[in-house]
Each structure stands twice: as structure tokens, then as C-alpha cells.
């Protein structure tokens, strides 16, 4: 089985920004308001700097105190706006960011729901989940700190150029070239920026992996005396990370130096032009400092955005991964909106079922045909990779068959909406996931309306009541992270209780291979017998004891059925290793 790689496609920068904008959704008005406040803020700053310079030059050119009063009052009048506009921009942008993030989290959840578990099957440790959560976090800096400055950086210099042009067109002409050049700086080293961004992320990933190894492998490390070597590996990863950061720093340093130099080129260019104009009488003396200060201030929004945009590569990469996830096609889609009419007889039939996980892979099962009668228990046996789990996955429609059909009560499983199909089938998986909610709610996952006494009855039948009652808070106990405080056998029994309470006519039992002690094994067998009674049951078996109690055993080998019969009737050779 292979997982589909989650890599964003390489495209042009404007197209790469599109996924980010696509996530904005219904919060567009808020972001527009934030951007307008941002523009207003920079315009107020321009006005206030210009006014200050005008007051100064009036004073220098010999104006009286009365002449200056108007300018000083204007400066004072601008003050509240000077404080209000950036606050408003920041506030609105953060509100929008937090709302967008909440939305995106919901979308990611929906995508996982759509794609799970087929698409995500190989990511057992949930690293994709962790990546999705932290990728969403990355977007905060874009929505709260980048988007609106970006808008200001494009619009405000245009306004400043216009103002300079009003003072004298020559000034605008002098300032325009360095401004235009400045806007192109990020594209000079874009290729490097992308490579460094990818490298940096990869390095952080490697470091995280070493950290996981250090923490989760601590038992092996200390008992093997390998701690010092693990520290060395961490040191090596730190060194490589530093190298990546330095490469990133050299590139962003070069950009920073270039943008900074261009602002001074613009300043000098305006300064010289204005000096020549003033000297030739083309520009009043009083406008001279105004022109210089305006030129210096024009660059502020551009500089502000280049400061944050240096890390934009990381944000775009995160957005790319999120949109890839959001747009990934579901492995299975509903082709009907209502289940077949009438009661469904829980007879399961596999009719010449063939399936492969991807076109380039070999068949996982080929021409598999068998039936499970209502109430019968059939065990699938065989080595790992023989196709046992695939059969179960096709019955629950984690995937759809490539050829043939899986039927329940004579109806193709594809003729049920997925929710209706899942109502017919209940599952005890091999790796039991217990949620960090009370045990009681873990058990009633499939039937939220169940009463406490129904939950307890199911737990008793699953031989789970005694140990649950002995837990610190009984049924209200919240299992620790990944259910760490419950043994494998106990988790299995909680899963069986969960399945019993759901009470569906068809049961799939994927037996756990490990973690059972003698008594647990005995209790689980009793619980499984309880669960499969009166239900059409498919067991993916690993233990001889299970094979013995099944009504029928189907031995799979290389995706084919190699034998069918009772445990005793089957020749033991089929179960022996080769």
C-alpha cells in the first residue's frame, strides 16, 4: 500500500498566492477593512511627516509664530488618527486571521473525514494530522501580519508619488525608478528563497524526527548505552539546521541590504532633484524638506512588507500543503443518496472481487469469492499481505473494488450511502484509538443517546466493566494520551464494548496480535464470542484459538483463496510458514 504524496505543485508566485486567498472565504470584508485601515494609516503617516517638514521649513524660511500655528494644529489633529489607524488595522487583521483559522481548521477536519482512512492509511502515527494542525498555525502570520501590509505597499507609494508630482512632476520622476526596482527585489532571488525555504523545513523535520527518537526511544537508548551517540546525532542536526538558517540568512541579508540601499538611492535622487529645482527657482524653498521627508516616508510600507515577506516562502508552502489536502479526491464517493428500500438481510457476499490500491501496483486480491451467511462467523487467515485486511476494507468501503462486487443482502455496497452502510457494520479494529474523553463517552461513540446503564451493560458483556469500575474515576476516567494507561487487552475490550453498544448486524473483528496476557486473552475470547453471537461476523484472525471457534475459516494467500473449511478440516499445511 502506498500513501499518495502530499506535495504542492510548483507554479508561478501569483498562482502560488492564490490558495492563500482562496482560504479567506466569508471573512473577505474584514480583511478589506483591515487593508483600508492600513492604507489610511500610511497616508496619515505621510501627511503628518509632510506637515512636520512643512512647519520646519516655514520656520527656517523666517515665518512668524502666528504663521506656524495652522501647521502645528494640523499636526495635533492628525495625532489621534496616527494612533487609531494602525490599531484598527492590527485589530481587524487579527480578528479576520483568527476567524479564517477557525474555518480552515474545520475544512481540514472535513478533508480528513472525506479522505480517511484510505488516503491516510500509511500515516499511522498521525504525523499528517500534526502537520495539518501546525500548517494551519503558519497561516496566522499571513492573515494577521502580511496581507494588509502587502496591499499598503502597493497602494501607498502611488499616493506618495502623486503628492510629490503635485509639488513638482520632476520629483515623482526622480523617485519612480528606485521604487519600481525595489518592488522587484523579492523576485531576484526567488529561486533561492524557495530552495532555502524547503531546505529549512526539511531540516526542522529531521530535527523533530531525532527529537521523537530521543523521547520515544529513551528506553532502548539508555539500556543500550547509546545516549551519547543520540546526543551527537542531535548535535549534527543542529549543525545542519544552522547551515540552512545561514543560507536563508545570507539570501535575506542580501535582499535586506538591497532594499535598504534602494531607499537611499530614492532619497538621494529626490534630494538632488529638489536641490537643483530649488536652486533654479522651480520649487519654493518651503517645499524642499517636505519633498525629502515624503521621499523617505514613501518607502516605509514597502520596507514593512519586505520585512515580513522574507519568510513568505514558508507560509506559501504551508498553504500549498493545506490546499492539496483540501482538494484531494476522496477514495470513495457516494453514487446514491438513499439506501435500497426494505430491510437488508445481513448476508455478506464477495463476488469475484479484485482490487489494487493504485494502477501501478499489483492486485491486492484477485477473484475472491465467498459468502458469510446471516449469523455465521468466518475467519480470514493467512500471512500478512495475503489480503485479509483488504477484504475488510472493501466491505466497509474504505476503498471501492476494481472488479467484481461486494454485496450485503444482495445489494452492492456501492448502492448504500456511506453513512447507511456504516450503520449496518460495526468494527473492532486492531489498533484501538481511545479519545481523550471519558471512557463512558468512548464506549457510546456509535450511539450517543445510550444511557449509562446501557453503556455498563455493554461493558459487562465485553468483560470490561470490572477494570473500568476499578479506574480512579470509573466510567468518567479520561484515558491518557493515546490510551496509555490502559493495557492492550483492556483497550480491546473497550473497543468490543463500543461495538456491542452500536449493535449493528454485521461485525468486523480485526484481532490484535500482541499485548495480551493469558487472562486477558481468555476474557477477550469470551467477549468476542459474545459480540459475534447472532451477528454476521468477519474475523481477521491471528490466533489459533480464534480459528478454532470460527464456523468457517478462509485461508488467503497472495490475494487468492487458498482453502476454505473448518479449522479441523483444513490441512494444517495451509497455515504453516513457507
Amino acid at each position: 500500500m502506498t500513501a499518495v504524496a502530499v506535495t504542492p505543485p510548483r507554479t508561478s508566485p501569483s498562482r502560488r498566492l492564490r490558495p492563500l486567498l482562496g482560504l479567506v472565504g466569508r471573512h473577505r470584508p474584514l480583511l478589506v477593512a483591515a487593508a483600508i485601515s492600513g492604507i489610511a494609516h500610511h497616508l496619515v503617516v505621510l501627511a503628518s511627516a509632510g506637515t512636520g517638514a512643512w512647519v520646519v521649513s516655514r520656520a527656517v524660511t523666517g515665518a512668524s509664530v502666528d504663521d506656524l500655528r495652522g501647521g502645528v494644529i494640523a499636526l495635533a489633529a492628525l495625532l489621534p488618527l496616527l494612533a487609531l489607524t494602525p490599531w484598527l488595522e492590527s485589530y481587524l487583521a487579527h480578528v479576520a486571521a483568527y476567524r479564517v483559522l477557525a474555518d480552515v481548521r474545520g475544512q481540514v477536519y472535513d478533508a480528513f473525514e472525506r479522505l480517511s482512512p484510505g488516503y491516510l492509511m500509511e500515516r499511522r502515527s498521525g504525523d499528517l494530522g500534526a502537520a495539518a494542525v501546525s500548517d494551519v498555525e503558519q497561516l496566522e502570520s499571513w492573515f494577521a501580519h502580511t496581507l494588509s501590509p502587502l496591499v499598503s505597499a502597493v497602494t501607498v507609494p502611488v499616493a506618495a508619488l502623486t503628492a510629490l508630482g503635485v509639488l513638482h512632476p520632476g520629483l515623482a520622476v526622480a523617485l519612480a525608478p528606485p521604487l519600481v526596482l525595489l518592488a522587484t527585489v523579492p523576485s531576484w532571488l526567488r529561486r533561492h528563497a524557495e530552495a532555502h525555504g524547503a531546505e529549512l523545513r526539511a531540516r526542522i523535520g529531521e530535527l523533530s524526527a531525532e527529537a521523537v527518537d530521543t523521547i520515544q526511544g529513551v528506553r532502548e537508548l539508555v539500556t543500550s548505552g547509546a545516549g551519547e551517540r543520540q546526543l551527537q546525532r542531535l548535535r549534527e542536526q543542529d549543525r545542519l539546521l544552522l547551515d540552512a538558517k545561514l543560507a536563508h540568512g545570507r539570501r535575506s541579508g542580501a535582499e535586506h541590504a538591497a532594499t535598504n540601499a534602494l531607499t537611499v538611492v530614492g532619497l538621494l535622487s529626490v534630494l538632488v532633484t529638489a536641490a537643483v529645482l530649488v536652486n533654479g527657482g522651480g520649487l519654493p524653498h518651503a517645499y524642499f524638506p517636505v519633498a525629502v521627508v515624503l521621499a523617505a516616508t514613501t518607502f516605509a510600507p514597502v520596507i514593512a512588507v519586505t520585512d515580513v515577506a522574507r519568510d513568505l516562502n514558508l507560509v506559501i508552502a504551508a498553504a500549498g500543503r493545506i490546499t492539496t489536502l483540501l482538494h484531494a479526491p476522496a477514495p470513495v464517493t457516494d453514487r446514491v443518496t438513499a439506501p435500497p428500500p426494505g430491510p437488508v438481510i445481513p448476508r455478506v457476499t464477495f463476488d469475484r472481487v479484485t482490487f489494487r490500491y493504485a494502477p501501478h501496483l499489483p492486485d491486492a486480491v484477485t477473484g475472491v469469492t465467498f459468502a458469510i451467511e446471516p449469523g455465521e462467523t468466518v475467519a480470514l487467515a493467512g500471512h500478512s499481505g495475503a489480503g485479509k485486511s483488504t477484504c475488510a476494507a472493501l466491505l466497509t468501503r474504505m476503498w471501492d473494488v476494481t472488479g467484481g462486487a461486494v454485496r450485503i443482502g444482495g445489494h452492492d455496497v456501492r448502492d448504500f450511502p456511506q453513512e447507511d452502510l456504516r450503520r449496518l457494520i460495526t468494527l473492532v479494529p486492531q489498533d484501538v484509538h481511545l479519545f481523550t474523553i471519558p471512557i463512558r463517552d468512548n464506549i457510546r461513540l456509535g450511539r450517543p443517546g445510550a444511557t449509562d446503564s446501557e453503556v455498563e451493560a455493554a461493558a459487562r458483556a465485553a468483560r470490561a466493566h470490572d477494570f473500568i469500575a476499578a479506574l480512579p474515576d470509573g466510567y468518567a476516567t479520561v484515558p491518557g494520551e493515546l490510551g496509555a494507561h490502559l493495557s492492550g487487552g483492556q483497550r480491546q475490550r473497550v473497543a468490543i464494548a463500543r461495538a456491542l453498544l452500536k449493535d449493528a448486524p454485521i461485525l468486523i473483528l480485526d484481532e490484535a496480535v500482541s499485548h495480551l496476557d493469558t487472562e486477558s486473552e481468555h476474557e477477550i475470547n469470551t467477549a468476542m464470542a459474545e459480540a459475534s453471537r447472532d451477528r454476521t461476523t468477519l474475523v481477521i484472525a491471528h490466533r489459533p484459538s480464534t480459528l478454532r471457534t470460527a464456523d468457517r475459516v478462509i485461508v488467503l494467500d497472495g490475494g487468492h483463496i487458498a482453502g476454505t473449511g473448518t479449522f479441523t478440516s483444513l490441512t494444517t499445511s495451509a497455515l504453516r510458514p513457507r
Binding site: G52, A102, V212, I215, T223, L246, R250, S487
Partner: protein, 567 residues
């Protein structure tokens, strides 16, 4: 904490970064002065400004140079601090061992070790040097303006002082809300992760929509809380803009009025015009640096908490050499933290040199605790454990653990090649030794069938191996380690029926001539033990050989009956 982050070697680096920042400030001040002089010259009707223009250009070259240097000097500074912190934190975690690791949530520890320490980039690489440079730079520029005109200088100074005080004040107001927000954030993160990891289960039980709606509610509340907090935090943005604007307006207004009154020269006023902006520039930079490092202090506190956790004391007595040692538990009692019931209660057991003892009993009987105490993952709350007559607490941890090989039911595979995983305890093993161990552990065949054989990458992001395969890797690992004491923890539990007999032979090879403690669940595997010890509620309830115990019709016989009933 700042003092602990800045070790002597790092201090000079930080001074260097602060120096670069000061150099940047100095070039801006120089540029302001030159531009003011240019303005004054042109106002005076002259055009001899070439030298000043050249001066501005030279300063720019210097500034660009300083900026380039800073972008690599800052990561070097924070990189040194980060590497050191990671070594100290990981080293302490290894010293504290699995007993400590079990208490925390691995996710939290991992994020401290990686993301928590990464905040040093913003805090030590950016904020602290900026703080130093801002104080020196702003004070210097303000002092100069003060010399030009005490009144204007006073106003600028007052505003400059007010700026750094604002966050201190808001911190005091916000601390509680910040902590609450952080808790809510971690909860949202954890619940999302929980749901995403359990999605297959949620879906199978038609519960995914319901859980999704609940999570949307949590996210909605969190978003509201964040907005409420942020409404106050961003007041600072407005506050800074206001103070800077006020300072500039007052300085320019007062300066202009004083010029009109003849108390200031035009050049001096132009200098004030150009320099007030420069006074506030470092302060704005500081504000940005502060915003970028807002989460560093709580993150680094969590890191130092780990580093400051006292490691168990170690002895210096060397282990006894030559032949397998005896292992003795004398009246050992142990109660885990936060548990009322004792896991072991006056447990005594003498394992003779080379003897194979099997511990059996239902889960919770204390079998695994026996192994954990022998390895000193925990220290027993009472009694004494000796190996070869030496108390385990008298030896160094490394020395103690070098004597014990462990094959446990959950074998962790490290990211790396099969070879790396096998030679964990013996990195200098030759290929011949490696293959011999793998053959003896029945692992050679499946390893050579892997795409790159012994060089196949396994672990979290490599090839996945089945439980039985991992087990055989662990056995080969233990064979290579060749320690005189062996702990087999439910060693055949993960092995499918087809492989069980082969593994059993491998384990027999492994146990030969070693003092062995077997923690067994499948009673079929304990028949060959020299002695079977039946445990219940942390005590020994029966001991003897398999047949003798069966004949007694006691606890062991009941366990066997239960197993056979199950089989």
C-alpha cells in the same frame, strides 16, 4: 533566565550582534545629520553638497554591509544557544530515563525540545541584542538632541522612555489572560490532533460529523477568546504610534517656535527634524522584536524546568566482571507516584548466576515493575536490589545498564538503517558479527529480503516492520550487546504463530549462559525456565518448576487452565 541563556562564550557573540545593530543606528544618525546639512546649505542658496551626498552613499554601503552581517551573525548567536540548550535538555531527559518520560506527554516534551528551543532565534537572536542596541542608541541620540535644545530633548526623552515601559505595563495586565489563552490553545491543538488521529474510528461509528461540530464549537470559542485578548495586545501598536507621533509633533512644533523666537539656528532645527525620526526607529524595531518573541519566555521556562529536574544520584563502584552475576531482590517495595497501591510489596527473589527465572501472573501483578527497578528506571521506595552483590544504586547508570540486555514487547525502531538499529549497543560491530547475530535471531532472511538489505531505512519515516520482525531485531540487538544479564519482557507476544518456534530457539540461544528474567504471558514459553515465579499484587505467591507447580494445583495451575481454556 536571561543570565542562564547567555553563557560567557555567547555574551561576546551577542555584543557583536548588538554592535552591528548600533552601527546601523549610527549610519542612520550620520545620514540624518548629513541630510540636515544639505538642506541647510541649499536653504542658504549654495549647491556645494557633493561631499555630503557622497557621505550618505558611503554610510549606505556601511549600513548594507552591517545588515548582511547581522543576518548571519544572529543565527550563529542563537544557533550556539539552541544547540547547547538541546544538548542539556536531551541529556537530562536521557539521564532521567524512561521512568520520568512516562510521566509527561511525549507530544509536549517533543515540542519543547524542538519548537520551544527554536524560540531562541527570536528571543536571543533578535530581541535581546535589539534591547541592548536600542537602549544605547536611543540614549545616545536623545542626549545629542538634548545638547542642541534641552526642551526638545526632554520631550523626546520622555517619549523614548515611555515606549519600552508600555509593554511592561501591558504585560502585567495581560499575564492572566495570556496564560488562559495559552491553555485554551493547547487544548484546541490536542483535541484536533486526537480527532484527526482517531478519524477512522469516528467514521466507522458515524460519529465524525458530531465530533466535527463539537470541535467547530471549541474553535469558535477559542477564536473569540483570541480576539478578546488581541484587542488589548494591539492597543500597544496604537500606543506606540501615538507616542512616536506625539514626540515628533511636540519636538518639531517646539523647535519651530524656538527658532521663530531666535533661540535655535535653522541648521539645528533641521537636525532635530531628521533626528527625531532616528530616535524612534530603534524603538519601533524593538517593538517588532518583542512581538516576534512573545512566546519565548514561557516556552524557555518549560525547557529549563526539564534541565533543572534533578537526575537520580549515581554511584561509582565498578560492576563485577567475569561470568554471569546473581541478581537479588531483598524486601523490595515500590509505589508509583500518584498511586495509592504498592506495585511491589516486600518482594524478594534470588536469581542464581546463569539461572533462568520466569515471572508470571496477571497484568498488574508487578512483573514489569521488577524489570524497571532492576534497570533503575525508578528507584524502589524500600528494600535493596543487587547484581553480583553490588547494590544497583552504587554503580553508575551506564555501568549498571551495560550489564543488562533487554528484549521488550514494544521495540522502538529508530529512524535510520537496519544496521544502525541493530548496532545500537555495539556501534563497532563487524558485518560478520552483525550477520551472525541476525541469523541467530532468525532475522537475517527477512532483512536481506528488504529493498536495501541491512541498509534499508526503517522507523517513523522509513519502512514499517511487523511486530514479529521488530521483535527479532530486538533479539539480534541483545545478542550483539552480549550482556551477562538478560530481561525478556513478553518476548514472544508480538510473534505470529508461524514464527513462534523459530523465535523460541533464538531466545534459547540468547539466554544460554546468562542470568535471565523472563516476563512471560504465554505459558508455553516458560516451560523451559529453571524456575517459575508466580506473582500477584506485588508479591511472590508460588515458585517452583513447571511440573511441580502444576501438581500443586495452585495459582499457576489456575493460570494454565485459563490459558488452555482460551486456546
Amino acid at each position: 533566565m536571561i543570565v542562564r541563556l547567555l553563557t560567557p562564550g555567547v555574551r561576546w557573540r551577542m555584543a557583536g550582534v548588538a554592535g552591528l545593530l548600533l552601527a546601523v543606528t549610527a549610519t542612520y544618525v550620520g545620514q540624518g545629520l548629513l541630510v540636515a546639512h544639505i538642506l541647510a546649505t541649499v536653504f542658504a542658496g549654495r549647491m556645494d553638497i557633493v561631499w555630503q551626498l557622497a557621505g550618505v552613499a558611503v554610510l549606505q554601503v556601511a549600513r548594507s554591509g552591517a545588515l548582511v552581517l547581522r543576518e548571519t551573525a544572529a543565527p550563529r548567536l542563537s544557533g550556539a544557544v539552541k544547540a547547547d540548550l538541546r544538548q542539556r535538555m536531551a541529556g537530562r531527559m536521557l539521564a532521567l530515563g524512561p521512568g520520568w518520560a512516562q510521566r509527561g506527554r511525549t507530544g509536549a516534551t517533543q515540542s519543547s525540545l524542538v519548537d520551544g528551543i527554536e524560540t531562541v532565534d527570536a528571543y536571543v537572536g533578535r530581541f535581546l541584542p535589539q534591547l541592548v542596541a536600542t537602549i544605547i542608541g536611543a540614549v545616545g541620540v536623545t542626549a545629542y538632541i538634548f545638547v542642541l535644545d534641552p526642551l526638545v530633548g526632554g520631550v523626546v526623552l520622555a517619549c523614548a522612555v515611555a515606549l519600552p515601559l508600555l509593554p511592561l505595563f501591558s504585560d502585567r495586565v495581560l499575564r492572566g489572560r495570556n496564560a488562559a489563552w495559552f491553555t485554551a490553545y493547547k487544548r484546541l491543538y490536542a483535541e484536533n490532533l486526537d480527532a484527526l488521529q482517531g478519524m477512522a474510528t469516528l467514521k466507522a461509528f458515524n460519529a465524525s460529523r458530531r465530533r466535527g461540530a463539537e470541535l467547530a464549537g471549541v474553535a469558535e470559542r477559542f477564536s473569540r477568546d483570541s480576539i478578546r485578548l488581541m484587542a488589548v495586545v494591539v492597543l500597544y501598536v496604537g500606543g506606540v504610534a501615538f507616542v512616536v507621533g506625539l514626540g515628533t509633533a511636540v519636538a518639531l512644533g517646539a523647535g519651530s517656535l524656538r527658532l521663530a523666537a531666535g533661540e535655535l539656528t535653522p541648521t539645528e532645527l533641521l537636525i532635530i527634524l531628521m533626528l527625531t525620526a532616528e530616535c524612534f526607529r530603534p524603538l519601533r524595531d524593538l517593538q517588532a522584536a518583542y512581538h516576534a518573541s512573545y512566546n519565548a519566555v514561557p516556552s524557555l521556562k518549560a525547557v529549563f524546568e526539564v534541565i533543572d529536574t534533578p537526575a537520580p544520584p549515581e554511584g561509582t563502584v565498578p560492576a563485577r566482571t567475569g561470568g554471569p552475576p546473581a541478581v537479588t531482590f531483598e524486601d523490595v517495595s515500590h509505589t508509583y507516584r500518584e498511586r495509592g497501591r504498592a506495585a511491589l510489596a516486600r518482594f524478594s527473589l534470588h536469581v542464581a548466576p546463569g539461572e533462568r527465572v520466569a515471572l508470571v501472573g496477571r497484568s498488574g501483578a508487578g512483573k514489569t515493575t521488577v524489570a524497571s527497578l532492576l534497570l533503575r528506571f525508578f528507584d524502589a521506595t524500600g528494600g535493596r536490589i543487587t547484581i553480583g552483590g553490588r547494590d544497583v544504586r552504587e554503580m553508575s547508570l551506564a555501568e549498571l545498564r551495560a550489564q543488562i540486555a533487554v528484549v521488550s514487547q514494544d521495540t522502538y525502531l529508530f529512524h535510520g538503517t537496519v544496521r544502525h538499529n541493530l548496532t545500537l549497543a555495539k556501534p563497532d560491530a563487524t558485518d560478520a558479527e552483525l550477520h551472525a547475530a541476525a541469523r541467530a535471531a532468525r532475522a537475517h532472511d527477512f532483512i536481506t529480503a528488504l529493498p536495501q538489505g541491512y541498509d534499508t531505512v526503517v522507523g517513523e519515516r522509513g519502512m514499517k516492520l511487523s511486530g514479529g520482525e521488530r521483535q527479532r531485531i530486538a533479539i539480534a540487538r541483545a545478542l550483539l550487546k552480549d550482556a551477562p544479564v538478560l530481561i525478556l519482557d513478553e518476548a514472544t507476544a508480538s510473534v505470529d504463530v508461524a514464527n513462534e518456534s523459530g523465535i523460541q530457539q533464538a531466545l534459547d540461544t540468547l539466554a544460554g549462559g546468562r542470568t535471565t528474567l523472563m516476563i512471560a504471558h504465554r505459558l508455553s514459553t516458560v516451560r523451559d525456565a529453571d524456575r517459575v515465579v508466580v506473582m500477584d499484587a506485588g508479591r511472590v505467591v508460588e515458585a517452583g518448576d513447571h511440573t511441580g507447580l502444576l501438581a500443586r494445583r495452585g495459582a499457576y495451575a489456575r493460570l494454565v487452565a485459563a490459558q488452555e481454556g482460551a486456546a
